[in-house]
Structures are given as structure tokens and as C-alpha cells.
């Protein structure tokens, strides 16, 4: 008669906490937890002792006090009577503006360079290699400083644009002239570009807490509606194509639904450009783009573009030749091959590293300190910190904000990545 017997159980011994794999991980985690909590309490204890020693408190009330300093680039209303919190918000917007424009420029430049580096043109592929190697292997700080030096040293002073009566009489041209059909003036002080203006604008939309520019809002609503209509037209065309094999011509419909309403709206609002004009000592009118902003954004863009170029190149090279040969064998034209076969596959390889480049660029905007651009670090971590002496609060808040931005970008891009990823079972 056979019967199953449980293996004899050892009585629990203290040594089993370390040598028995069933218990060891619990032991290690308990030790780690105790050490971590000890470390944490040590830090907090030290901080409390230090704060008491310096006779300081830990509170965020200073954020609502009057800031008392001016910021030279404000995307929304701000005066030196506004609070420190408002100043930090202005700084955050400046950081985001620089990051956004930098990412867009870097993507365009990086994709172009990456594709051209694979070109069969000997000269172009060599030039692009040189570009990538030079920009990748030198600190980005150098490009920012160099950009600032070029913009401040190699540009004409506003006075050089002046045409005096004596010069008119002598028929001399001024030393410098505006570029792009006399619309953009580059001076030692900044770059003056035309500003978009509306004649009969709508009043600002006042919601509790925020004030919105309703002109912009309406414009984007109309544009969004146009894009949605275009999407519907293409979807319809696809359905017709799948049913009948013939694709209806859609390009003029697309153009019409996108552009006719928006242009109509702009004409209705009396849209015009406000050109910069040379007044007494400087240009007025239009928008003055600070050199610090331009230097920072362009330097970050060309630096990051070198990395993006390598990512794009690697992504395209990762798609085997057989894919494009198969597409040609099916009779697809090169353009359709690229958009239907190569790109969807290459994007899967390209997007994850591209996300981390965007993150890097965003974090690198904190190098604004090199050119005194008033970004988040310049306001909250700079002037506010120095004025109030609230080092702990300002730094923690600033790190928290940067962390939030980073995590938001990476989670958004991960969602996008999931959308283009190969659908596996």
C-alpha cells in the first residue's frame, strides 16, 4: 500500500532567514527598508537642525509675495508687482517655449541630416558626417556661448540702419538693412520680427483664474474643425477606394476645408502684420526676439539634431532591403513605398530614442543660465531664490516641476509609441 508523504519540514531556525531562498528576499528587503528609513530620518533630522540653526522656516508663503523684479520676455501678463508664483509661471512658459521650438527645429534638421547622410551623393553624405561628428562631440554649452557671441558681436547696431539726410543727399546706403523683404531687423539688441495683429479682435475670455486670448482660441477652433473635416474626407475616400478600387480626387477638397474657413476668419478679423520700424534709438513695433532666446534655442536644436540624425539613420538602416524590394515588386511607387512600408517600420525603431532626445533638450534648456535667458531656473531658481533666500523650497519646487515635465513628456510619447508599435498577438 502506497501513500504520499509530505517531505519532512525543518523546524524554523534563525539561519534560514539568510540561507533559505524562501526567506532570504524578505530578510534583505527588511534590512534595506530599515537602512532606507534610517537614512531618510537622518536627512530630515539634519535639515530640521540646519533650518533651526539658520533661524529659517520651511514654508511656501513667499510664493504669494510681491516679486519686485522684471522679466524681459513674458508670454502672458506680468509686472514686478506680480507674485513670485507668477514669475515662476512666466519662467516655466519661457522654458516650454524654448523646448517646444527647439524640439521642432531639431526634428526637422535631424531628419534632414539623417536622410542626407544616407544619400548616395558623396559630398553631401561626407558633409553631413562632419556635421554630426562636430556637433555631437563638443559640449552644448559651447554652442550656446558661441551662438550668443555671434549674435551680439557680429550683428549691426540699430544706428547702422539709420539713413540720415546727409547720407540721402550723398546717395549712400545705410550700413545695414533689414532682411526678408524689409520685415526682419537683426540688431545687437535682438531680432525684430513682424507681429500678427487683428483689427476687430474679440474681447479676452475671462474664466475664473485664467484669462484667454479669444482670437487665438477661435482661430485654433476653426483650424481644428478644418483638419477634422479633412480627416473625414480622407476616411470617406478610403472607404470608396476599398469598395470600388478607385480613389476619388481629394486634394482640392482638403485644401478648401482647411484654408478657406481660416483665411475667411482672418480677413473677417482684419488680420495684418505689424512691421518693426526704426525709431529714435531702436526698432519698435513687431515682436522683439531676445538674442538669449535665439542663441539658446538654436544651439540646443543644432546640437540635438546631430543626435536625432544618428537615430534616424539607424532607424532607416534597420529596415532590411528586402522590405523596399518587396514593395517595388508589388508595384508601389517610391513615395508610397516610403510612406506605407519603410516609414511605419522605421518609426518603431526611431521613436523611443527620439523621446529621450526630446527629454534631453527640454532639460538642457536649463542651460539658459549661460545666456541669462529667464527660464524656470532663471526666475524661480535664480532671482526668486536669491531675493528670498528660500533655497530649499525653491530648489525642491523647481526639481518637482522639471520632474513633472519630464514624466509628462515621456508618458505622452510612450502613448504615441504604443500607437505606432507593431501590433503583436
Amino acid at each position: 500500500m502506497a501513500f504520499v508523504q509530505e517531505p519532512p519540514k525543518d523546524a524554523f531556525r534563525l539561519g534560514m532567514l539568510i540561507y533559505d531562498t524562501r526567506y532570504r528576499s524578505i530578510t534583505i528587503q527588511v534590512v534595506v527598508l530599515v537602512l532606507f528609513l534610517l537614512f531618510l530620518s537622518w536627512l530630515v533630522n539634519n535639515t530640521i537642525a540646519n533650518l533651526a540653526l539658520k533661524d529659517r522656516t520651511f514654508d511656501f508663503a513667499f510664493l504669494f509675495a510681491r516679486s519686485g523684479y522684471d522679466i524681459n520676455q513674458t508670454l502672458v501678463d506680468y509686472t514686478n508687482d506680480s507674485s513670485h508664483l507668477r514669475a515662476a509661471y512666466i519662467g516655466l512658459l519661457n522654458t516650454l517655449l524654448s523646448a517646444l521650438i527647439g524640439c521642432a527645429l531639431a526634428t526637422v534638421l535631424g531628419v534632414t541630416v539623417g536622410v542626407l547622410r544616407l544619400s548616395r551623393n558623396w559630398l553631401i553624405s561626407r558633409l553631413m558626417t562632419v556635421y554630426v561628428e562636430i556637433f555631437r562631440n563638443v559640449p552644448v554649452l559651447l554652442w550656446i556661448l558661441l551662438g550668443a557671441a555671434i549674435l551680439s558681436e557680429a550683428t549691426p547696431a540699430p544706428a547702422d540702419y539709420r539713413v540720415t539726410e546727409a547720407m540721402q543727399a550723398a546717395g549712400e546706403a545705410p550700413k545695414a538693412s533689414m532682411v526678408l523683404f524689409d520685415s526682419v531687423a537683426i540688431t545687437t539688441r535682438g531680432i525684430n520680427i513682424p507681429a500678427p495683429m487683428v483689427e476687430h479682435g474679440l474681447p479676452r475670455l475671462e474664466l475664473p483664474g485664467i484669462s484667454l486670448n479669444s482670437n487665438l482660441l477661435v482661430f485654433f477652433l476653426v483650424l481644428g474643425a478644418g483638419l477634422y473635416a479633412d480627416h473625414r474626407i480622407r476616411a470617406h475616400a478610403r472607404r470608396v477606394q476599398e469598395a470600388t478600387g478607385l480613389r476619388p480626387v481629394t486634394w482640392w477638397k482638403s485644401l478648401a476645408v482647411i484654408f478657406v474657413p481660416t483665411i475667411g476668419l482672418l480677413m473677417l478679423m482684419g488680420f495684418h502684420l505689424d512691421y518693426p520700424v526704426l525709431k529714435k534709438f531702436n526698432f519698435t513695433g513687431g515682436i522683439e526676439v531676445l538674442h538669449s532666446f535665439t542663441a539658446l534655442t538654436f544651439a540646443l536644436a543644432v546640437y540635438t539634431a546631430a543626435f536625432i540624425a544618428e537615430i534616424v539613420r539607424a532607424g532607416i538602416l534597420a529596415i532590411s532591403r528586402g522590405q523596399s524590394e518587396a514593395a517595388f515588386a508589388l508595384g508601389l511607387r517610391p513615395g508610397r513605398t516610403m510612406s506605407l512600408v519603410i516609414l511605419p517600420q522605421a518609426l518603431r525603431v526611431i521613436i523611443p530614442p527620439l523621446i529621450s532626445q526630446y527629454l534631453n533638450l527640454t532639460k538642457n534648456t536649463s542651460l539658459a543660465i549661460a545666456v541669462s535667458y529667464m527660464d524656470l531656473r532663471g526666475t524661480l531658481g535664480g532671482v526668486t531664490l536669491n531675493q528670498t533666500g528660500k533655497e530649499l523650497e525653491c530648489m525642491l519646487l523647481m526639481m518637482g516641476i522639471y520632474l513633472t515635465i519630464s514624466l509628462t513628456i515621456s508618458s505622452l510619447m510612450n502613448l504615441f509609441n504604443r500607437a505606432v508599435k507593431l501590433k503583436e498577438r
Binding site: 539568510i18 540561507y19 532570504r24 528576499s25 534583505i28 528587503q29 534595506v32 527598508l33 532606507f36 536627512l43 539634519n46 535639515t47 537642525a49 540646519n50 533650518l51 540653526l53 542626407l116 544619400s119 548616395r120 551623393n121 558623396w122 559630398l123 553631401i124 558633409l127 561628428e133 562636430i134 555631437r136 562631440n137 563638443v138 559640449p139 552644448v140 554649452l141 559651447l142 556661448l145 558661441l146 557671441a149 558681436e153 527629454l359 532639460k363 538642457n364 534648456t365 536649463s366 542651460l367 543660465i369 549661460a370 531656473r377 531658481g381 533655497e391 530649499l392 530648489m395 523647481m398 526639481m399 522639471y402 520632474l403 519630464s406 514624466l407
Partner: protein, 435 residues
């Protein structure tokens, strides 16, 4: 009707040369530069860009001046030699101030010390980089940190020696305890003993040894460090410390233990989510809050610690990628052989995972070395911004813009480019698959 004799050639015709457009330089040009309208346009654009750069930079470089005492003198020489209005590079600044770019304010009679330390660096890393060299050289690698610390900062030789003895204490305790308690417990005991040694025995033992055999070098303060000396000190220390830390973090992130994993993920994501500048400001502004009241340690050391954390988080992610790329079978095979966790990691997993992650690790190192320039913002004299500001503050070199950046930038380029080429070489050498 006459006899018709057909003409039959008896010998072969000599092959004709291909048409002019199909051979030699012309063919190469047609294939590589002008193969279509788009390529022709691109080539012309490229040539125009090249010409523009050369026509702007060429004369400036050709008109270089190497011997002058000030920027004004440089400009006078250029105007005298090449005519009024000519522009030229004033490398005389480099000739005048190269020592500051290399050493910062390090006392000039002591330049031999950083130079010797730098030369020894190559001897110390050679056995790590090239496996053909004799293994005995690794002994020098082991003592190199202490030796360099002593050479650079000076002071009593016994401070670093006694600090290194801490590792000896660890080894002795581990050896003694291991047969009785096994690896984990004895490692813990060793760590405790070493910390006790550093906390309580370090200062008195060093003092006693110093009174018996006084061996001292003139001590140099941290604020005298600058230029590439500073970059290399921060870069090399952080690089060598961040690799082991990164490996541990990567393993922690892959661990089955929830708590260890959470802590690793939290650390990595926090460090990767904030800019390096905020971490450097933490080193300069916040550490004074987090450490016990009255403790104040060296700013360079503080910066090195934060930069190491920063690099370690990035390297951890690179190595995690390498670990993920290993086929599952490798882990299972290690388990089947009966290897324990650390043996499996050491003998099977890590050698392969690290090999896969070499390109990523080296590019993290390059990024780290480039980022050492950011220490300028916490008041240290990095070669790019700090030293250049000092040079430009001098009345003789006021207004010099391009030369300092070009000079410091090209040194960075050489180092970083060299590192990336080394990694490509290593990748080829370690490649074992036959694809």
C-alpha cells in the same frame, strides 16, 4: 564572276576603352555627385556651403598670430602684415594662457604633479582597456585613486593610504568570516568594519603614521583647480564610479524584490527627470541642509558625487537595455547549471549584457565628460566658460571671442571623438556572432 573571299579576322580586336563619360574621374563624378537633378542641386548647395565656410574661416585662420602680448598687439600685427581691415585669429592668447586652460590656478611650480597623475592615468587604465597587457599592472590601477588624490591635493601621504587600508580591512574581515557565516553575512560584516575604520580609526592612525614617517607634498586647495584638470578629475572619477553603481541600479531595477525595485526605479527616474544643473545647485546650495550641522566638505567632491549619481542613472538604463536584449535561455541555462544569483551575473549575464551595452555606455561617458563644463555655474573654473571669463577679464585679452571657444572646443572634440572611436573598435573586437 570572281571568286568571293570573305574577310575573316584572325586575331581578336583589342578592347576599346569605355567612352570618356564612363570612366575615371568623370564617371565617379557622374555617379557620386551628379547622378540626377536632385543630386546635382544638392552637390552645388554643398559646394556653396563649403566655399562660404572656407572663404570666411580660411583667411581668418591664415592670418593667425602666435606671438603677441595682447589683443591690440595682435590686431596691429595683422593690420601691418595683411593690410588694414584684414581679420585674423589671435592664437597668442593660447600661447599666453594655455597653462590656465590646462591647470586653472594650480601653482605653476607644482605642474609636474597633475602631469604625472595624468600620465599614470594611461598606465592605470591600459590593462583595463587592452586585455593583452600583463595582469600585474592591475595592481597599479588599484592604488591609482589614492596616489592621484595625494598627487593632486597634496598633504600627508598617510591620509589616502589609511583610507585605502579600509579596503584591506574589508578583505581581512571577509576572509575570516566567510568560512563560518557565508558570503552575504561576511560582506555585511566587512562593510560595517570598513565604515568603522573610516569613521574612527582613519584620523588617529594617519596622524600617528605621519608623526613616525612624515611624507608630505605641498597641499593645494580645491579652488585652485581649473581648466581641463578639473574636467578630467571630475570626468574620470565620475565615470569610474558610475559604472559599478549603474550596474547595481540596473540589477536593482530588474530585481524580484519589490522594495529594492521601487527604490531603484525611484532613484533612476528622479535623477533622469531633472536637469544636471539643478543637481549641481543641489551640491552647492542644498547639501549644507542635508548634512549634519557644521559639516562642510570639498565642493569638487560634492560635485563629483552628484555627477556620479547623474551618470549612474543613465548607465543603469543603458545596462537594463542590455539585460533585456539577452535571450531568456541564458538566465535559464545559468539556473540549470546550479549557479547562484551573483555567480550567474558575474559569469554569464553581465559579460554578455555589458558587451551589448558598450555603445550606450561609452556615449553616456562622452555625455558625462561634456557635461563637466556645467560646473562653471557653481563657481568652478571649467575650461569652456570659467577660464575663458578669467582670460577675458584681463585687460590684454578683453574682447577676444572666437579663439578661446575654438581652442577649448577642439580639445573636447579630440577627447570625445577618440572615446567614440575606441568604443567602435571595442565593439568590433568583442563581436562574436557570425552574422
Amino acid at each position: 564572276m570572281g571568286e568571293f573571299t570573305p574577310f575573316v579576322r584572325t586575331e581578336m580586336l583589342a578592347p576599346q576603352a569605355p567612352p570618356v563619360s564612363q570612366r575615371g574621374a568623370i564617371r565617379w563624378l557622374r555617379e557620386n555627385l551628379f547622378s540626377g537633378p536632385l543630386n546635382t542641386v544638392l552637390t552645388l548647395l554643398g559646394l556653396a556651403a563649403l566655399l562660404w565656410v572656407v572663404s570666411h574661416l580660411g583667411p581668418w585662420l591664415l592670418h593667425s598670430v602666435w606671438n603677441a602680448n595682447s589683443l591690440t598687439e595682435c590686431r596691429e600685427i595683422i593690420a601691418a602684415t595683411w593690410g588694414e581691415g584684414a581679420s585674423g585669429a589671435c592664437w597668442a592668447m593660447v600661447r599666453d594662457r594655455w597653462h590656465q586652460y590646462l591647470f586653472g590656478f594650480y601653482p605653476s611650480p607644482l605642474y609636474w604633479r597633475p602631469t604625472l597623475a595624468f600620465a599614470l592615468l594611461f598606465v592605470a587604465i591600459a590593462p583595463v582597456l587592452y586585455s593583452q597587457l600583463p595582469r600585474k599592472l592591475l595592481l597599479l590601477t588599484a592604488v591609482y585613486p589614492a596616489l592621484t588624490f595625494w598627487l593632486l591635493w597634496g598633504g600627508s601621504i598617510w591620509v589616502p593610504v589609511v583610507a585605502m587600508m579600509g579596503f584591506g580591512v574589508f578583505a581581512v574581515v571577509f576572509r575570516l568570516a566567510q568560512p563560518r557565516f557565508g558570503v552575504p553575512v561576511s560582506a555585511g560584516l566587512g562593510a560595517v568594519a570598513t565604515s568603522l575604520w573610516w569613521m574612527f580609526a582613519q584620523a588617529p592612525v594617519a596622524a600617528v603614521l605621519q608623526s613616525i614617517a612624515p611624507v608630505t607634498l605641498t597641499s593645494v586647495d580645491s579652488d585652485q583647480f581649473g581648466g581641463f584638470l578639473l574636467s578630467v578629475v571630475i570626468g574620470v572619477t565620475a565615470i569610474s564610479a558610475s559604472l559599478p553603481m549603474g550596474i547595481l541600479l540596473a540589477l536593482g531595477r530588474k530585481s524580484d524584490m519589490l522594495l529594492v525595485r521601487t527604490l531603484s526605479v525611484g532613484f533612476i527616474e528622479f535623477i533622469r527627470g531633472v536637469p544636471l544643473i539643478t543637481l549641481l545647485f543641489t551640491a552647492s546650495l542644498l547639501l549644507q541642509y542635508f548634512l549634519p550641522p557644521g559639516s562642510d566638505f570639498d565642493i569638487i567632491l560634492r560635485v563629483i558625487i552628484l555627477v556620479t549619481f547623474f551618470a549612474a542613472a543613465y548607465i543603469a538604463e543603458v545596462i537594463r537595455g542590455g539585460l533585456a536584449a539577452l535571450p531568456r535561455g541564458q538566465y535559464e541555462a545559468a539556473d540549470a547549471l546550479g549557479l547562484d544569483y551573483w555567480q550567474a551575473q558575474r559569469l554569464i549575464i553581465m559579460p554578455q549584457a555589458l558587451k551589448i551595452s558598450i555603445p550606450g555606455i561609452v556615449s553616456s561617458f562622452i555625455g558625462l565628460f561634456k557635461d563637466t563644463t556645467l560646473v562653471a555655474f557653481v563657481g568652478l573654473n571649467d575650461p569652456l566658460k570659467g577660464i575663458t571669463q578669467i582670460v577675458r577679464a584681463d585687460i590684454n585679452w578683453k574682447g577676444i571671442y572666437w579663439e578661446p571657444y575654438l581652442f577649448a572646443g577642439s580639445i573636447f572634440f579630440l577627447i570625445c571623438f577618440g572615446m567614440s572611436r575606441y568604443s567602435m573598435w571595442l565593439e568590433r573586437k568583442l563581436k562574436t556572432d557570425h552574422r
